[in-house]
């Protein structure tokens, strides 16, 4: 235990640096996936076949690709066509794009879960598509969407570790580097696990809060 604490004091600053990068990657890809997800979802419920089918195809493509493959493409293949991204940029972009598919399906499910009579009533008073969405459907869909959205946040936090495969020195990669150089596997990975857990706790509480609010 003494030894563990001693090592922990030594490793923690480096690991926390990694954790900070983990948070940055998570927040960045969360914002991107939310934006893109909203776009796909809006296209899917637009009622315009071309848009709806395009969005459905994109979503299926993204769901069918492992995140790691997407990351490799962005980081190793894109430079061949003249687009060079930093590891962090590629990480945020890759995770954001990959997760936009799940965000979109969640948003769409929320929108479709709002009683059809609601949009009909809005339509009958002369509202157009966008006004109906903004004033009637989306405010009700948000309540339905938030708890699963919180879960996606937790998954994204953990999946940000996949960015380590393209050299983003986030928490998991920092841990691995320290472990290989010190052979303190048990100490290092226990610390890594604890830090992930600590970062997840606020998100778990947030999900619980959303669920309580949604029930009202």
């Amino acid at each position: 235990m003494q030894q563990f604490l001693h090592n922990a004091r030594e490793f923690l600053p480096i690991l926390l640096q990694g954790a900070w990068l983990t948070i940055q990657v998570t927040l960045g890809s969360l914002a991107l996936s939310t934006l893109l997800g909203l776009v796909w979802a809006a296209m899917r419920v637009s009622g315009i076949p071309l848009l709806a089918n395009t969005a459905a195809a994109v979503i299926n493509l993204l769901r069918g690709l492992p995140i790691i493959v997407l990351l490799f493409f962005l980081y190793f293949v894109m430079p061949d066509v003249g687009i060079s991204l930093s590891a962090v940029q590629a990480g945020i972009l890759g995770l954001g794009i990959a997760y936009s598919a799940y965000q979109a399906e969640n948003f769409r499910a929320g929108i479709e879960a709002v009683d059809h009579g609601q949009s009909e009533a809005a339509c009958a008073m002369g509202m157009g598509w966008w006004l109906t969405m903004r004033r009637v459907v989306l405010p009700q869909a948000v309540k339905i969407v938030l708890p699963p959205y919180g879960n996606i946040m937790i998954m994204m936090l953990k999946d940000s570790s996949q960015a380590s495969t393209i050299t983003v020195a986030e928490l998991a990669l920092q841990g691995k580097l320290i472990a290989t150089s010190t052979f303190q596997n048990a100490t290092v990975f226990t610390l890594v696990a604890l830090i992930y857990l600590v970062m997840c706790v606020p998100l778990i509480l947030l999900v619980r809060h959303f669920e309580k609010r949604g029930r009202k």
């Binding site: 009683d115 009579g117 609601q118 009909e120 009533a121 339509c123 009958a124 008073m125 002369g126 509202m127 157009g128 006004l131 004033r135 009637v136 405010p139 009700q140």
Partner: protein, 243 residues
């Protein structure tokens, strides 16, 4: 003001409306009765373009109702609708429901819409409920809010789609009372209903629809008391004497 000519509607291969001709004049109250699945609600939904139709025409003040045209929004602000299941917006208060259309569709300023909303809520007996949320109200109260919401648009006509069918029996009277007041004030109304007593007392004309056609129409007392067609007689017997 509402003119329906040769209205036809298909759902896939199934023809719901087989050529409906009807006109509704200003200030007239027309009740549409008939068995379930006869196409009553579909006619109503074609009048404000909630459904597209396959043949014939629907015109309001000579303007063709076409749910793909630009004019459809304007038509919908002139012809309001009250639904069987109220369809109030549960995330907004009663007052917000009432002023939603005037403020966000017609661009009226909030203060004057609210003032008119208060008067409308008072007229349907819900002056004290303006800050309540729809789920806190009884079905009868919700439907009266829906009527106030329809009136807030200052429409030229209101379509009622079985407005009392989702209500507990003891709450039906309040809603029918509010509708009767409206009729007496001269509102043009098309009412799909199973309330024969309401049709008898309030309607100017009753249409009996079965199998997608108007089987019979006329003044309520004549049609309800002395139906000419066997199908009308059969339907009325079942409705008026269910046991």
């Amino acid at each position: 003001m509402i003119e329906i000519r040769g209205l036809q509607k298909f759902y896939g291969n199934h023809q719901v409306l087989k050529g409906i001709d009807a006109t509704v004049s200003k200030g007239e109250v027309v009740c549409i009765i008939g068995p379930s699945g006869s196409g009553k609600s579909t006619i109503l939904r074609c009048i404000n373009g909630l459904e597209s139709y396959s043949g014939g025409s629907v015109e309001i003040h000579g303007q063709r109702v076409d749910n793909k045209s630009r004019s459809i929004k304007a038509i919908r602000t002139e012809v309001a609708m009250v639904f069987q299941r109220f369809n109030l917006f549960p995330h907004r208060t009663v007052m917000e429901n009432v002023i939603e259309g005037p403020v966000y569709v017609k661009g009226e300023d909030r203060a004057s819409a609210t003032e008119r909303g208060r008067a409308l809520l008072a007229s349907v007996g819900l002056a004290d409920k303006e800050n309540a949320r729809p789920p806190q109200l009884s079905g009868g109260q919700q439907q009266r809010v829906a009527i106030a919401r329809a009136l807030a648009m200052q429409p030229e006509a209101i379509l009622f789609d079985e407005p009392t069918s989702a209500l507990d029996p003891e709450l039906v009277g309040d809603v029918l009372g509010a509708m009767r007041k409206l009729a007496e004030a001269g509102m043009t109304m098309v009412v799909v209903t199973h309330e024969m007593q309401f049709a008898r007392e309030v309607a100017d004309r009753v249409l009996f629809i079965d199998g997608g056609v108007i089987v019979e129409q006329g003044p309520p007392k004549a049609l309800l008391n002395f139906p000419q067609h066997a199908r009308t007689q059969d339907f009325l017997r079942r409705v008026l004497h269910p046991m």
